[in-house]
Symmetry: C2
Subunit: 338 residues, 2 copies
């Protein structure tokens, strides 16, 4: 089969690879319907994370079940399935607590920009859509497998509630999906920090009521102006830099909540500052599996359309261009069609 | 009147001071029924916080209203009142959100180890007990004004719920009150980290089910053993040191919560570690005012007896001995009688 392999920063190649095989009785093999490039894939692409040896890439997928291991009974060949970037048995103590992305048997997906993918923990990980959804739904369902699930988690962790004011820090695909989530969870006011006109437009289409273009202290001051001087009830941090986290913490009101879903890179928090802020903080890899049935339903009923974050669709053999377009900010998110 | 003044580390004196006066129409003057020494008073006493010039001490109080300013209508002379260490108008946006300890007009109390005390923001700060409670209730009501309110906040911030497992880090007065709170909020298992036999005994009397005497990594390993390998649902951090915070964060299960109420001293948190732990974190000065009516009721009906944390009662003129006893760990908490 063909699959994407990173060799060095900036060097992504589509190569002929061995077809994945069932290695454990809990595995399944899927034929990829569509896959995509994630913002986090740009860390090694940009050399911000080391690439010691060539390895496959990609952790987002929807597809058709090809084959299942002997212990997998919940899905069968031919079904259309959605899974999370973090696989989970959905039975361990952490899964039962709703933190499937902390499953005691968790394996992170990492080979999904390919025609076929092996899914560990298939029984607990894969969720079937009812029948085979039309191709028009595939981008939305693909978004659910990562960025939409992560945006939802940001809103959940930040405790967005009915009538609340939410701030979204970051206008990447996750940030845009966080706007969708905040809207669905009843936020009355959704303020997005964004400097990119096409992304602002999409944010507004998803439900943003205000755009703040200022950054740093100026950005925080503008948020305070918009929130009666005290800050927002909920802040959804969708970047992962120290600057974004600082902005998020300073934008929340006393007693408000920050949900942080961008993997933090060199972020240090001062205990005393956090203490006196009265801000609640929760983050981590999104427990997408918890939300999958609900989010699949919202996509298939048309309540949400997170597939719109894909503003570039390419055949899988143009994967290198897919990365380059995102790296150069020519695309928000690239869909890849095997 | 007589009141305690700190002159230097280890040097607390009872002195003749001017009687407090109404300075603003929102003030009240109370005659102190009982007051006490707080663990945080030991920071300057031990020289861990500077004492640049002599100043009065104390932020815990219950007493009788002597006089009120022209804008204070909610309490009147002769009434027995309980207040918080952080005064609040109880009308601003932060107060309405339940974070009265972040009131936009907040003033921290600092002159309460004295016969009379001026209470700013009296209208929003003071809560009357129904009639004058018997003297036997005064220690419990005094505890409510700070340590019991703070213990309750720790349990609230850590989201202790019915049937949950809670860990309390710290066996000072706040930690012991946190045990009371966890019990009242329905925790099934309450694990207290303590090395002091008399405090362990009181913790058990308050509802602790397990005592862990190990510290650091050994302490965390023991908590894991007691919680099915994953950690506790809720951890109540009642110390404020880097070591205590580390222990707290490592003792919580993925998706669990840490409420931290010890003022952090040199506590730095790593964003990435917090992220991958999936632990929620909230702290700050306790919004005691939010809990006062409920906690006063629990004390007066006998549901809780946090006054037991006072294991030493002294006349106010022995305030210096009151500090020394706590400093040398001969007392958990010293009650002072004017």
């Amino acid at each position: 089969m063909r699959g994407a392999v990173i060799h060095a920063p900036g060097d992504i190649r589509l190569e002929n690879l061995d077809d994945p095989k069932i290695l454990h009785p809990t595995d399944a093999i899927i034929r990829t319907a569509v896959t995509c490039v994630c913002g986090s894939d740009l860390w090694p692409y940009r050399g911000a994370e080391p690439t010691d040896a060539p390895h496959p890439m990609g952790h987002e997928y929807v597809g058709f079940v090809e084959e299942v291991g002997s212990e997998v009974t919940s899905v069968k060949p031919g079904q259309f399935v959605v899974g999370s970037f973090a696989t989970s048995d959905n039975t361990c103590a952490n899964c039962r607590n709703g933190f499937q992305s902390h499953c005691l048997n968790r394996e992170f997906m990492s080979t999904c920009q390919a025609e076929y993918v092996r899914i560990p923990n298939a029984q607990g990980t894969l969720v079937t859509a009812d029948g085979v959804p039309g191709e028009g739904f595939w981008p939305g369902l693909l978004a659910v497998s990562d960025v939409m699930g992560t945006g939802w988690w940001a809103a959940d962790a930040a405790e967005v509630g009915s009538g609340s004011t939410a701030v979204v820090v970051g206008d990447g695909a996750v940030g845009l999906c966080a706007v969708i989530a905040a809207k669905q969870l009843g936020a009355e006011r959704i303020i997005v920090m964004s400097r990119h006109e096409p992304r602002q437009k999409l944010a507004r289409a998803f439900g943003a009521t205000d755009i703040v273009t200022e950054r740093g202290d100026d950005g925080v001051a503008r948020i305070k102006e918009l929130t009666g001087g005290i800050g927002a009830d909920s802040v959804l941090e969708c970047v992962g830099t120290a600057e974004a986290m600082r902005q998020a913490l300073h934008s929340a009101r006393p007693g408000g909540n920050v949900g942080f879903v961008g993997v933090p890179h060199e972020v240090a928090l001062d205990g005393q500052e956090l203490f006196f802020s009265h801000v609640g903080l929760r983050g981590g890899p999104a427990p997408v599996r918890r939300y999958l049935p609900d989010l699949i339903d919202r996509v298939l009923t048309g309540a949400i359309d997170p597939g719109k974050v894909f503003d570039l669709a390419l055949p899988l053999d143009q994967v290198a261009e897919g990365y380059a377009a995102m790296d150069e900010r020519r695309a928000i998110k690239t869909l890849l069609q095997p």
